[in-house]
Symmetry: D2
């Protein structure tokens, strides 16, 4: 951290800051330039979040962090790519992972048709929501525990591991009982109670970026899970909020190479939520892989016009299968397999 | 809801949509223009969120909602301003409400000094965080239950009702035991498990807008609480995420007159989080009231440079008292009292 | 500027950077910390924009500017508030300035009615567009030179100085012939050819913030005019682009105290463009003044429903006059006059 | 356009609106629902921008446009993809187009090295700035006419057509004399004087999206050029402004499939400006093509650390050549050539 002082700061004030830095177990280094005096706080200041309070001093102009605020999620302490294993699926290696399925689990029949469809198309993991976070209280809220049961059945039938969302810390136990991967949705990306709880869970976590979460904050949310003791975090870019309204969100694919540089964690792309329209899903699925993502999360529904949630962004099983064929060719050109 | 069809849509397809609309208990009205055919879904479609799925049809160009998606939070069914009573404090009437206190409860001594300071300055409600949502897992996470106890003591000493944040549904009971108002923070503005839980609680709820929550989504979050049976919701604008970086967030004061037009619920402004810097708090506190807010939420700390959270945006008690004097004059000019 | 090096940077590379810094006439100061080595470029680096290119080096992790990038627009070299005089109107002092009038000059009769209306209400300066920047090529593009002539006539009749927009460098001469203040619109906030041209003009410039312009970039645009030799720049906040759609733009009132701290230039607020709806204009006009702005820019039209541009955000003359009465009371409470 | 009326609107008011709609040469169609009365304005309302003013009426709740606001740029009147020919290069067909070169033309030697490098790598068009739009007035502003001359020489030597930016209407003639394609930069995306001027020019126009320009506004800017009589518009997505700061802008690749659906114009992607860092350029170049773009705009410099502008985002010629090899393989997998 560098503390930039306003012109005219007195020596006593400089000393006061140095004392405060040293009291936190860091070293202080004063550098007087022509225009500004700077004080460097030297050491592992990532855990010294109290340094922030120096910004309250009237003669402090600004605080400049030098180190990334996360540690366990960063490449500096863990240079090699992390690979998360879920049964036989290895997420983060040269083979790309595709998770597909309906937004909501709606019925035994619906899930069966989709599960067989996505398996036939070549998906590796079945997704489906049992507890649904809906913007409106009047919208379908999910089949809840019955939905979890149907997912477990579908896994048994297809052999595909299952990922489903958990909405609160009090539900982690029951969801973990049925699911192979626990999904934290975009609206809970900074639900710290929930992040702490899944940090103590034995199941891998699929952590979606919030719609207003910066990349650094996103990695700090991952850090909550890692610091809790759960090393198996899979990141997912699913679109951020911007001024553009022709798409539901703006898929931030820049985040893929940036996160690949900063972090060892695998990262997927969700073109369904990232665009909100099924017509745009194939293009953005390809773009996500070309940007370097480790896989995709795609919504598939047998009859999107009857879907209880997110119909407009769902592919039908046959369109999904055709997309998978296209992705296989693309993966080859990118030096990966699918 | 209006369904806009692409040019060339066949009659059979038009009829199919009409059938689907009628199956939901609504009327369908077809209007054929020169350039586009439109189908209106007539009736109370707010609760028919399944209409959204029509967007999945290839020949549907767009869906245009006509009614606001919320109902209980809207002025149409509740034209008069809601006034929320907390002991002798009436939030939402001609008298403005100021909630002030430290970001985090840090110690008995700190809370005592602040509580007396803000009471002396004229605040009506004491704020203070016991459970803290922190971006970094390495930051101070709050005194938790001990913090709640200290708040209850401070209430006894000063007579000020207390507002404090609740982070998850499993904590609603314990927080409601100590607090007079339950705060839902910005990062939980769409934590629907939590919204449902406080909807069944007897205590008023202070609901902060999320940093990427549109005004309509914000009112839908309020709708969750209202639909759960708790009519006592106080809204709070606290800044949204934009590209501007000289301030921590961008306080969206436009939201005040917009929400006053759409909703009967009282709305406060939080200039501390909305700017992130104590120097800007007085200007934006005044701007918030001038925009029509029903009150303010202001962070106050005896020694901001030692604060365990949000020091840079905290006022000292004497600066707070001076601000209150300025606000009293301003309130008069706005036809209100404080 | 501080240059942050990646771990493992070699001595030869450090020396290379130091040489490059010194070649620009600055001093280099190396500081080796536990985690990172930093190199400070010491001196007046604001004019050494070539330092940015150091970011191209593979072993440079990041560049951290320490000084603000503008100079003439900043308070450091010009601590006192600038006051811009236009005839008898002094913009930036204790007396607030209100500029009002139609979005577009449409006819002799329309302008006459508005000009008398806003003068009667107490406006100090008449605004009106002759050359109009319209999003659609099919929209009314303004009366052009005839509009300028009508504005000059209205000035003669009312005595109010006139502000009008100039769209390109080739029009500065003709607009300056008729207008007392040249307006640079939001879409031209980074039209550098135009900024250079008005920098060489003798008339004051009303510079609007672009809808995606940061505060620092905004002050750099002002710097273009100041560096060109024209010291008379009046800033105007008029709303930025965000994800919120209930208003046309998001008025960023945080920018007022921030700019007051960074710059000596006067700043106005435009609540008409900042909201896009006349119902919200009074609330946001008041909020703008309470935030510390030096005045307002307000659109007024005798029959908004017939306006050739921006009807929905225009006040009628009588509503404007009532607003001015309210603003007079507010100004008093803020220690200013109007 | 649909006009939504507030509850309680009187018959006389409905008739008044109908009269106003009919006075514009459109038909009015009234539809009375349970909750709202709607009035449809039927006909080619794209050119009736005065309809917007109806939003000024107190009893109008909202205006809902049904048709896209652009026409010539849209697929409805021009279903087939446009192909823009520049010498032997065909932009918009199955063969992808790569434009590459330095941000600024800096010297004869620099341009010669880059031009030969990008030609060797397989670029089709040479880019280079002679007039530079710089955020700071203290930054290098370009070699101006001398830069144009150097570009013309490089074209002669390499045979590559040349694209360069034009900053104002008064410069269109001189730039068109030297350049094969005129570039309109992001900051001038809504500089309507300039758009009108290039609309009357015989040379193709490369139109960059502004950093806060919606896709509809972007196509309206193209419409200005097309309506002026110049059919040769090439669009370019180069990143929008969002809250994310690890990259200079957020490349909005969603815009590619959206624009391909709405418009027949070719669209390129600029990963150099879209990320601001050379390390991310290869990933985002690939992502852009995978999303369906018709080509790329890439900055190349022989010694980025000495570049007078945008060094950090420039590739060296050998890295560019390697990227081109990778793109050739990718193009094959996408069913295109390069």
């Amino acid at each position: 951290m560098i503390i930039v002082l306003r012109p005219g700061t007195q020596d006593a004030e400089v000393e006061d800051i140095c004392r405060r830095i040293e009291a936190l177990g860091l070293q202080a280094h004063v550098s007087r330039g022509e225009q500004r005096t700077l004080i460097g706080a030297i050491g592992e200041d990532r855990f010294k979040t109290q340094l922030q309070a120096l910004g309250a001093l009237e003669f402090v102009e600004s605080l400049v962090p030098i180190l990334q605020p996360f540690k366990l999620a960063g490449r500096e302490v863990h240079p090699a790519d992390s690979i998360i294993e879920v049964d036989a699926v290895r997420i983060g290696g040269p083979r790309l992972t595709v998770m597909a399925g309906p937004c909501s689990v709606e019925s035994e029949e619906q899930l069966r048709v989709v599960a067989e469809g996505v398996k036939g198309g070549g998906a590796h993991i079945l997704r489906g929501g049992a507890f649904k976070p809906r913007t409106s209280p009047y919208a379908f809220q999910g089949l809840e525990t019955e939905g979890l049961r149907l997912l477990a059945e579908a896994r048994k039938r297809t052999g595909l591991p299952v990922v489903t969302e958990v909405l609160g810390p009090e539900k982690v136990e029951v969801v973990a009982e049925y699911a192979d991967i626990l999904q934290i949705g975009a609206r809970n990306a900074q639900n710290f109670s929930l992040l702490k709880e899944v940090g103590q869970c034995a199941k891998p976590v699929l952590l979606k970026r919030g719609m207003a979460t910066t990349i650094k904050e996103f990695l700090l949310s991952a850090e909550y899970v890692l610091a809790g003791g759960n090393p198996n975090v899979i990141l997912c870019e699913r679109g951020i909020r911007t001024f553009e309204t022709t798409t539901r969100f703006t898929l931030d694919l820049n985040a893929i190479p940036v996160i690949k540089q900063l972090s060892h964690l695998p990262i997927l792309v969700d073109p369904s939520h990232g665009t909100g329209h099924w017509e745009y899903v194939p293009a953005m699925a390809k773009a996500g892989l070309a940007a370097g993502a480790d896989g995709l999360l795609i919504e598939v529904h047998p009859r999107p016009v009857e879907a209880l949630s997110d119909g407009p962004q769902s592919l039908k099983p046959d369109r999904f299968a055709r997309l998978m064929d296209e992705l296989r060719v693309l993966a080859g050109a990118l030096g990966r397999t699918i």
